[in-house]
Amino acid sequence: MENPTAEITWKDEQETRNSVELEVYSPAGVLQETMHIYAPRLEDLRGKTICELSNGLWEAHRTFPLIRRALKLRIPDVRIVTYDELPFGARNIDVEDIGEILKERGCQAAIVGNSG
């Protein structure tokens, strides 16, 4: 049987030239570097107040007490405002003025959980 590829001729590689140049944009948008919009970290937590913000999901009612207990063991005089004393649930904690709400409660740091 005749070789079906016999008629195909191949260009000599050395003679092949790229004759078209296309410049395209990245579709990934612009990543903006932003100012550090969050409060600077406290020097230490001794005598400070930490607030818990819970979305009520992924066993947060069990993980928060564990973190609370571990923090108290390390820093006996830390004060913790528990999540049930503050806005609760994703809709209520994901609001523009949550920072102000925490400040009014005397919070100097916050722990937010649980993602997933």
Binding site: T16, R17, N18, S19, V20, E21, L22, E23, V24, Y25, S26, P27, A28, G29, V30, L31, Q32, E33, T34, M35, H36, I37, Y38, P40, R41, L45, N55, G56, W58, E59, R62, T63, L66, I67, A70, L71, R74, P87, F88, G89, A90, R91, N92, I111, G113, N114, S115, G116
Partner: protein, 451 residues
């Protein structure tokens, strides 16, 4: 400090970066079993020192404000076709795109598409999450180019993205959730016919006659993927995704088919008659309703009862973020002849909504009760509104009814909410050269077909 379950590390790092933190924030991962009800938290307790260290020690680097222009890539080829294929392959390697072949977004093509707006190319509409890159006019044009778009599609795309990026839309949630949600864009106004957007037969699906919906919808998906980083498995945890996500759903209301007294969707929502608008929401469950006969009072009642029975199927998301004056549980599409039949029987849009709202109330089951109790606890449903059978929306007028689809009766279509935010409406702003763009479209694509 991020505490998350194994498998979600990419999503969480992405989401954290989208909030302005660098992606190298400390993370502790635990297996999924730790996060389910009644689990042992032994591994959590064992790693508590690592968690506390992360909470107390790490802080992000301080950056500075600034923008970067879109980067460009140069590709060489032996001829145009070779370069075209190389670009498609390169974009695939970089995980840019939706898996389908793309049109290379060259400077010439993007510049052409930018003639579709008077807005400056560097204008920022917002950050698309979870990745948090900026959606600019230019990046919208680039992704519209990739989808095969034209300049006259750009104003609608801009309006849709403005709606999506409104905080109340909560795109951060529905763009990353495990649920298979996708945006639905309903267009009103003369622009729909001008850019050949479908409102009749096959309006939710592919069509060579009405190309705009699929292309604009695809551009939206490309933006959510490329700019927003919602790549399956790392940025988006949607378990299935779904075929509708390729082009989402972009269609026009059949305003000519509205019965007397039935207002267009955008007028119901406060926009003026004849204005060009988008109404944007997200859905996850959709399908054909095989009953839409409304020629007699009995047929109308049977049909409405059938529609209500589909809406009555328990949907966790009914009582999630959309149980509010600004949310909707579902969008119901009715073809014009079915709508006319209803109107002739004395059914106004408001009366249809009231009937559906009443007849779609969900009976109590242990599962439904547990859902609602959870939503009450999370502040999503006011406790005073809990009653069984439970309404699917706060008020009847929250149910959205749109006249669209092929002319005859026989079928309707419902789209039920997924993890969603509020329904958002935006006016579409046309450029000063709008008529020139339409003239060019007619030259390129031929006259707008009738029907």
């Amino acid at each position: 400090m991020n505490i998350t379950r194994k498998g979600f590390e990419g999503v969480v790092a992405n989401a954290f970066a989208g909030l302005g933190f660098p992606p190298e924030a400390p993370q502790a991962e635990f297996s999924e079993e730790n996060f389910v009800s009644g689990s042992y938290l032994t591994s959590f307790e064992r790693n508590m020192d690592k968690i506390i260290d992360g909470l107390m020690r790490w802080e992000p680097k301080i950056g500075k404000n600034g923008e970067k222009s879109l980067s460009k890539i140069t590709v060489e080829g032996t001829d145009y076709q070779d370069a075209f294929i190389k670009i498609d392959n390169l974009f695939a390697k970089k995980l840019w795109g939706d898996g389908l072949p793309i049109i290379p977004p060259t400077k010439e093509r993007v510049d052409w598409i930018l003639t579709g707006t008077d807005e400056p190319p560097q204008k920022v509409f917002g950050m698309i999450l979870p990745r948090g890159a900026a959606a600019t006019v230019e990046s919208l044009a680039v992704n519209l180019a990739m989808a095969g778009g034209r300049p006259e599609y750009l104003p609608l795309l801009i309006a849709a993205m403005e709606a999506i990026l409104e905080p109340a839309s909560r795109h951060r949630w529905w763009n990353t959730t495990t649920g298979d949600t996708y945006p639905v864009i309903i267009v009103n106004g003369p622009i729909a016919g001008q850019i050949r957007l479908a409102s009749g037969y096959g309006c939710l699906g592919p069509s060579p006659v009405h190309r705009a919906g699929g292309i604009i919808g695809r551009a939206i998906r490309l933006l959510l993927l490329n700019v927003g980083g919602a790549v399956p498995g790392t940025g988006s945890m949607a378990l299935y995704g779904g075929a509708s996500r390729y082009t989402n759903v972009v269609f026009a209301e059949d305003e000519e088919g509205l019965p007397p007294g039935w207002k267009p969707l955008n007028v119901e929502r406060g926009f003026s008659e004849g204005s060009n608008t988008v109404t944007v929401h997200t859905v996850s469950i959709a399908g054909t309703l095989h009953t839409a006969e409304t020629g007699t009072e009995n047929e109308a009642l049977e049909t409405l009862e059938n529609w209500a029975s589909f809406l009555r199927l328990p949907n966790y998301s009914y009582w999630s973020n959309t149980f509010s004056p600004r949310g909707t549980p579902a969008i119901l599409l009715i073809p014009r002849n079915a709508a006319l039949g209803l109107a002739r029987q004395g059914w106004s849009k408001e009366k249809v909504k009231a009937f559906l709202w009443e007849r779609s109330k969900v009976p109590e089951t242990p599962l439904v009760r547990r859902w609602i109790e959870q939503h009450v606890q999370e502040g999503k449903v006011p406790i005073e509104r809990v009653v069984f059978p439970m309404p699917i929306a706060m008020n009847p007028q929250n149910i959205m009814i749109v006249v669209a689809g092929g002319e005859q009766s026989g079928h309707a279509y419902f789209m039920s909410v997924g993890l969603s935010g509020d329904v958002i409406g935006k006016e579409i702003r046309l450029p000063t050269n709008w008529n020139d763009l339409l003239d060019r479209a007619e030259k390129d694509l031929g006259r707008i077909p009738l029907g």
